[in-house]
Symmetry: C2
Subunit: 197 residues, 2 copies
């Protein structure tokens, strides 16, 4: 990376937790200047606007969360094992960017607001849901999961339960809601799984 690219990446990495904790409106350019120790010109050399920086900060936060939460595809594991593992990762491994899940934060922040961030978080959510749906479809075709399961519906329920539980857990400063969500989702998966041959 060139020196400019290194600076650009450093700004993104320092801005990411600020946007993730405070939201787009709650994080001012002044906050970014203080965190980076740069002058305004030093930021605008690399980003056309606060919105552009927030978009890159979200992409970075999301990539970090996905990396830590989504186990790498492993063809030796069954679909049911992969779903269980994904749920365990979400419950056990907090997003590495302070402030909680970037998808949940940005969805709530942008659903009535910033259209650029709204589109980005929607893409992120769709991509997560597609990955889960794909695992479910593989499970159905390998006769590990019941044929009457709708992959998108199961993926929606898994994501909704985990994200809602994270909201409660962060507010309560306790993992109990996340652990309750895990128990309930593991039971749901138990119910849709077919007995192994």
């Amino acid at each position: 990376m060139s020196k400019g690219e290194v600076t650009r990446q450093r700004i993104i990495e320092l801005a990411a937790p600020l946007f993730n904790q405070r939201g787009f409106e709650g994080c001012s350019m002044q906050d970014i200047l203080e965190a980076t120790g740069l002058k305004k010109g030093g930021i605008y050399r690399h980003f056309s606007s606060k919105e552009g920086l927030a978009a890159d900060a979200f992409r970075f936060s999301l990539s970090q969360a996905v990396k830590i939460r989504m186990p790498p595809p492993d063809p030796s594991r069954t679909a049911v094992e992969r779903l269980r593992e994904m749920i365990d990762h979400f419950v056990e491994k907090p997003s590495p960017i302070p402030g909680g899940c970037p998808i949940l934060n940005t969805a709530i922040d942008a659903d009535d607001g910033n259209p650029v961030l709204r589109e980005l978080v929607w893409e992120g959510l769709k991509s997560w849901r597609s990955r889960i749906s794909q695992i479910v479809r593989e499970g159905i075709s390998h006769k590990e999961i019941r044929r009457d399961v709708e992959p998108r519906a199961l993926a929606n329920t898994i994501i909704a339960t985990l994200e809602g539980a994270l909201m409660i857990s962060r507010l309560e400063s306790s993992k109990s809601a996340l652990n309750d969500a895990r128990a309930s989702l593991q039971e749901l998966i138990e119910r849709v799984a077919l007995p192994a041959n």
Copy 2:
């Protein structure tokens, strides 16, 4: 109500959707002045600070959401019927204050921020969870719900699934995630319910 009380209430009702949609930082005093047509002094006559107004606006939004979502207690209905009805209300009746669920919005907005709002939303969430837990306990003591069900865990799962699904539905501009959540929760309740005598 005195004329002052009417004005105060009008300010709260006009500010509530702004805070609910934009968050505490995203809603400026300027936005409030424009919505109410008042001067700054006219607002500060009734509220000591923007934080004080935001707190009252949240209380108002929450009361409206609870009123429309929580069916009134009805001793002629079983606990299982009341749980089902609560889920139906959440899925079918959007919060009357634009911007979605005030608990979800304020939880995400305040979990790393404003301590007054954080405390208020935590009280709101605890009270909702207590009401659900209480229905579950009544169901257990009336032998409608299995004795091994943990009321708090079931309440956490119901709230998490509904709130997470609302986040997805609002982002997707579609009710499908909420409908998937309902189907999955109705199945969960079916499983914990005991057959009627």
